[in-house]
Symmetry: C2
């Protein structure tokens, strides 16, 4: 039952889009000029998907706020889609990174930070051995390679509609008949993903066991909760049972915390005490400097080290690129762990997210909207239905309401709030305040009320 007043929505979307254009002439000019110099007018593909007809051009960000080139100040609940979960320009990390720049950024050699970071990561996340990468995508790619080396197997297993970045093996999905096909939008694959990848519905333990039964799966890339289309939480005991099943079948069990790092100080893995063979942590780990880390349980590290050729024989190709583990990335990770993503900061972010969640729930209730609100630590999503999704297929169409999406996002931008464009995610950073969340609630009410039908 659509509780949205569609004629009102059409009118308001037109008005808000016009207002958006009026209030952002500088961003509009940047977008116009970019059309002749950047492919599809965008330096980065995802800008195309920002609502309003063109992306905001940002002049600077401080804490939970950004200022665009037209001087508009906005509360940023998108935070670079997790890349800026630290908040913009977080003081302790920014100073550490800047200092490291003046001492050289890239040597292809270790610095003292490499060991400090590995020790801190072990303390926090419990994995004994670490390596570095430039992105969580790269970390996943390298993890797949190490797992293939350790197991002598080739296949990769993933959940349907999970997110593992730009990794070829992970850009697969199930079609209606249950066959593995290229994910919609996978424009440039060279090999049918069914040759490399098994896809299982999230929360389907029997399906996962069936995929593992042939003992040809090197690694299961596990997104602890689905995060790329709303949030789908695991059933109680699901991840624990899957971890056991992987161990039974000799498959490397990897927790990809690319987004679930919002769950807390120790990630989803540590917070919930999930046993895993590997972990990947990217995005905010270096306060916006491109970097990721990945960790190995000690028995897996031993297996890999025992199979590794001597340095004079062979390099391991496909692992790392030249700037991987550079001095500046490690200084940035250290600064972030030491000063920004602390236990105390996560407590603050969690509490604020709870407050955000409660306010949005109460607003939906007031308006008679039976919409879901789901929280994972500092991250909160809402859906335009209440179907209690248990897997990616359940939520696939839940936010494909293009007009409603566009209206909510543009109207919020016009009132000074940035919500993640691809879905309806809000994220709290250490600098986000209760007053900002309260102001969001008020603005959200103001824009929702006029488009909700009162039948």
């Amino acid at each position: 039952m659509d509780r949205i007043n569609r004629p009102a929505l059409t009118d308001r979307l037109r008005e808000e889009t016009a207002l958006f254009a009026t209030r952002h002439p500088g961003s509009a000019a940047q977008a116009r000029n970019s059309a002749a110099h950047l492919l599809t007018g965008n330096g980065m593909n995802w800008w195309r998907m920002w609502p309003g007809g063109f992306p905001l051009c940002i002049r600077e960000g401080q804490g939970a706020e950004v200022t665009d080139v037209d001087g508009n100040v906005l509360v940023d609940l998108c935070l670079g889609d997790t890349g800026a979960m630290t908040g913009h320009a977080p003081k302790g990390a920014t100073e550490a990174i800047a200092a490291s720049l003046y001492k050289g950024s890239s040597f292809m050699l270790p610095t003292e930070d490499h060991l400090w970071v590995a020790e801190e990561l072990e303390r926090r996340f419990g994995f004994s051995h670490w390596q570095y990468a430039l992105s969580a995508s790269d970390a996943n790619r390298f993890a797949i390679r190490w797992a293939r080396m350790a197991t002598g197997r080739k296949k990769v297993a993933i959940f349907n509609h999970a997110y593992h970045g730009a990794v070829d093996e992970a850009l697969a999905e199930l079609d209606e008949s249950g066959a593995v096909v290229p994910k919609a939008g996978n424009i440039g694959y060279g090999i049918a993903p069914s040759e490399t990848t098994k896809v299982v519905e999230f929360n389907d333990l029997e399906g996962a066991k069936a995929a593992l039964a042939d003992e040809d799966v090197a690694i299961f890339l596990v997104e602890p909760a689905l995060t790329n289309m709303s949030i789908v939480l695991p059933d109680p005991g699901f991840l624990e049972a899957l971890s056991e099943a992987c161990r039974d079948r000799g498959t490397v069990f990897l927790m990809d915390e690319t987004h679930t790092i919002s769950e807390g100080y120790r990630g989803y893995t540590g917070t919930h005490g999930i046993r895993a063979d590997m972990i990947v942590i990217g995005k905010p780990i270096a306060s916006g400097i491109p970097a990721a880390v990945y960790g190995f349980a000690s028995d897996l590290a031993q297996t890999i080290e025992s199979r590794y050729p001597a340095p004079e024989d062979e390099d391991a190709l496909g692992i790392g690129t030249t700037l991987t583990g550079s001095a500046v990335t490690l200084a940035a990770i250290r600064g972030t762990l030491e000063h920004v993503l602390t236990e105390e900061a996560h407590r603050h972010m969690d509490a604020l997210a709870e407050h955000y969640e409660a306010g949005v729930k109460s607003l939906f209730a007031d308006l008679g909207l039976d919409w879901s609100v789901i929280r994972m630590g500092a991250r909160v999503e809402f859906l335009y239905d209440n179907t209690n999704p248990r897997n990616g297929s359940d939520v696939l169409n839940s936010f494909k309401d293009y007009d409603l999406n566009a209206y909510l996002h543009v109207a919020l931008l016009n009132r000074g709030f940035v919500l993640t464009p691809f879905h309806n995610m809000a994220l709290m950073c250490p600098a986000t305040t209760r007053a900002q969340v309260d102001a969001f609630h008020a603005a959200f009410r103001e824009i929702l009320e006029p488009v909700v039908g009162r039948d």
Copy 2:
């Protein structure tokens, strides 16, 4: 005919390795402690390949010098294997990057630098449309995807023993029968590379034409000169003819300037006026901040844009990751182009590299060593033979003299000079001085003389 006195080499290698351990106790301790916390004891795989038994642990770098944790100051001719071709902590770029950190590093939205950089790249390299990436590997991956979209084809062509980073499709080589097989050291491939990749010997125009004849090659990844095992220069007219052949067969012709950017201010492509459909530039482009750029000729850009789905329909998966094109990476690219890798700086680097080349040639002549010295702009390599290599197979074994490699590198490190460990590359940066190159020549003579046989 081996002109090396092997017994003398064995003795000197032992002595220099012992001296190396004595002079670098802090680096040795860091390596020992890292064994328990970093996979294979290394945060990044390539550290394993540094000579001397453990990699130097670096405290800081300034210009062409690095200082290790034991206080040794070394002239850095490796420069992060091109990542620091800018020199360490280059002033203009460092200040620009630091300033950008204090204004926020990652928004998933454009800043004014995005357009500035694209315009400067067009001015310098001549390609009309640009996108950004975190590494040249990523840029190559994305280029492959765009080319597959534009051509509707799947296959990728590469040169035997060319370097394109960690891209799966490029980790292939020819075996003795001419079949495409996984590159030695490719530990974790999931698909036989022959399914995705055609491999051609460098400088073999007829071979390249044969690979293109079936019109199933989406893109030819072209390393303008082979750079990962010494330097193999293209025959006069080879790249021009290959470019024509690709155009005739509808294959996207990509110049991967990952290493050949040393050739000059406008890269190999611009310096030699090669027509290409795409170009990739990574490593030093952001003064050590992980970033890369890739450009499209306007007709290819138009083809892609015409085939691209509307934003409300589909995202293009596998292109970009969250921090791609972030504010700090673009500030770093801008700072580097504006202040560091200027035309004047490249003139200085070129002249010094010529001086380095002349001194090494003269030393080899004095010692009766018929060894090659090859230069590509600011980059100079030497080989332990003079076979005039024309392709990767010709040079495959030229520097597999493990003892000689180890001795030269360790003895140079003991005398305060860092040469690229995997091969014998020296690179000049804007801060390298003539006095440093002269001092290198003297040190190189001092260590070579005792191991050259006088028959």
